[in-house]
Subunit: 160 residues, 2 copies
């Protein structure tokens, strides 16, 4: 009876409760993804995230941009890219016009490996969210669209 509970408490308490539930759900799904990556593919979420970022930039991504993009420290990203390079899944290339900077990109073998992981990942999420219909997804999506978007005017539905 979540509706009932939400109506009996001040809105700020209801918002705190839904935040804690969001956090718990996202952490739970993430834990399941970590477990599946480890148990079924012998890999880790940070490594999956690095491959995913590199897959979006086929021309390559500067190491510093990769680290900003993933919001993790340069040191961790460097270690992961080193390992991917050793396994011939990624390679480092010079940045034209910047002798000190390096870009990383996936090799064809790396792209294939990531495509396979990404398929599995999509399947895991599909399973974890299997009770969500298109209507559920639309409702949650619309609710999320107005969070962290100070410029979205909810009344008119127009982003400024």
């Amino acid at each position: 009876m979540p509706e009932h509970a939400a109506r009996q408490e001040p809105l700020s308490k209801a918002r705190l409760r839904i935040w804690l539930k969001l956090l718990k759900t996202v952490n739970g799904i993430e834990a399941e993804i970590r477990r599946n990556l480890r148990d079924q593919h012998g890999t880790t979420l940070p490594r999956f995230d690095v491959m995913s970022a590199l897959a979006r930039f086929p021309e390559g991504l500067k190491m510093s941009d990769l680290s900003t993009f993933l919001k993790v420290s340069n040191g961790n990203v460097t270690g992961i890219v080193d390992k991917l390079t050793e396994e011939e899944l990624a390679l480092r290339v010079a940045v034209p016009g910047d002798k000190r900077a390096q870009m990383a990109r996936l090799t064809p073998k790396g792209r294939d490996a990531f495509a396979d992981l990404a398929d599995h990942h999509e399947g895991w999420i599909d399973g974890l969210l299997e009770s969500w219909t298109v209507e559920d997804i639309d409702a949650v999506s619309a609710a999320l669209d107005v969070v962290l978007s100070p410029h979205t005017d909810k009344e008119s539905g127009h982003a400024q």
Copy 2:
């Protein structure tokens, strides 16, 4: 037009998109909380989480349980509890019948400090989710209730 986009793609793609949106939203809110804790209170989210866990167990929590509860390494928790103890916000007490184990609990000063932080935290979440009405909260809550709950029967609404 998220509804339209969701209807044109397979459900597994729509679920992947909503997962990525959930993750982005939760990470964005968490980043804002970290920023506020740091800038307005000179503290950190792991420390806030430790105080929050201790606040729920006024009798004290074993160090090992605290670390399990928070899903972080014992080393980090120990460092945080050491610091809280130094500042007289927490104290360590022996576990009756187990010479090697220690419990941590908040001091009255620690409880007051946490109550103040928790009020601010609730206010930040209230502000971040200010566009969410009770109806939005109910919709998101109902959707989240069926994720990670394999024993919930969606048809009847009864948990087994």
